[in-house]
């Protein structure tokens, strides 16, 4: 090996080590696709409840009592609340699964300094947004829930992009933009939700998988 080649490989090694030690790069494109599919299924299941074909309330009497008492537990009596929870859990578990597989394959630990940093920085906007939206539910401003989810989630992704693959930043910007537009089309929250969480995630995941993983799995 000549000196030039040696230098080139040294520089590539430095770049790789800098990235591996500061960013969590095992995030799989398939995670994006699976989370997007869960969101789409969730939106389909939720649709008849949102647009009045099905009664979203689980127990009429309980809801009336809780409404009079102004008790926050009223949300537990909405089918939509449970659909949202189930969708979130399904999306999280499947997304985690594919990223776990990728980290195994690359032999990078899933619970490392970089993944911890990523989790913390994603959590900040998510937790703040969650509390904010919870209060909005209590004030019964339901129309702002969907755009609120999109905006806070988008902020979380933009924040996350410093600690993982940078492309996630653009997914974040798209989420924020659609969330903001949704603020002026309040009745269409579910459609924005399906387009943003569902279709955008699938597009992003497919792009990322194509860019980083397809070559490897064929090699």
């Amino acid at each position: 090996m000549n000196e030039r080649q040696q230098s080139l490989e040294d520089l590539q090694h430095i770049k790789k080590m800098m990235e591996r030690s500061s960013r969590f790069i095992s995030l799989s494109g398939l995670s994006g696709i699976s989370a997007g599919l869960c969101a789409l299924i969730g939106a389909l299941v939720a649709k008849p409840y949102v647009y009045g074909q099905k009664d979203p309330i689980i127990d009429e009497t309980a809801v009336i009592i809780l409404a009079i008492a102004k008790d926050y537990r009223i949300v537990f009596y909405s089918y939509l609340f449970w659909i949202a929870i189930a969708t979130f859990i399904a999306a999280f578990v499947t997304a985690f699964f594919f990223t776990y597989l990728k980290s195994k394959k690359e032999e990078t630990p899933i619970w490392s300094n970089t993944s911890k940093r990523l989790m913390i920085n994603v959590s900040i906007p998510i937790v703040v947004g969650g509390l904010f939206l919870f209060r909005m539910i209590q004030f019964e401003t339901f129309g702002l829930i969907a755009p609120g989810c999109l905006i806070f989630y988008g902020l979380a992704l933009v924040n996350a992009s410093k600690y993982t693959l940078v492309e996630i930043r653009y997914l974040g910007f798209i989420q924020i933009a659609l969330g903001l537009i949704n603020l002026w089309f309040v009745g269409y929250g579910l459609y924005f939700w399906a387009a943003d969480f569902g279709i955008m995630h699938i597009l992003y995941g497919t792009y990322m998988w194509n860019k980083y993983e397809r070559k490897e799995s064929n090699a």
């Binding site: 000549n2 000196e3 030039r4 230098s7 080139l8 040294d10 520089l11 090694h13 430095i14 770049k15 080590m17 800098m18 591996r20 030690s21 500061s22 032999e107 990078t108 630990p109 490392s112 300094n113």
Partner: protein, 99 residues
Amino acid sequence: MLNPINNLNKLFDSRVRLGIMSALMVNSEVNFNDLKMLLEITDGNLASHLKALEENKIIKVEKGFIGRKTNTTYAITKNGEKEFKLHIAALEKMIKSTK
């Protein structure tokens, strides 16, 4: 310390040391276990490289505790940062000059 032929620093003449320096350039501090996982080498091997870098004042060591377990963290020194940047510049120069 500088190799007269190509200005490359002999101290960074190993993949492990390049890896250590890269990690310390982009993180304010890194502990022993994270370095070990990053570089995928044995304790002894890593420790000897860290010792050499420390003795040359390229990196500094801080011994602390997390609960009862020892937690040794490493950080780059001002001098180390300067030397490593020179080394990278020398590598880049070499690629350009021998085209």
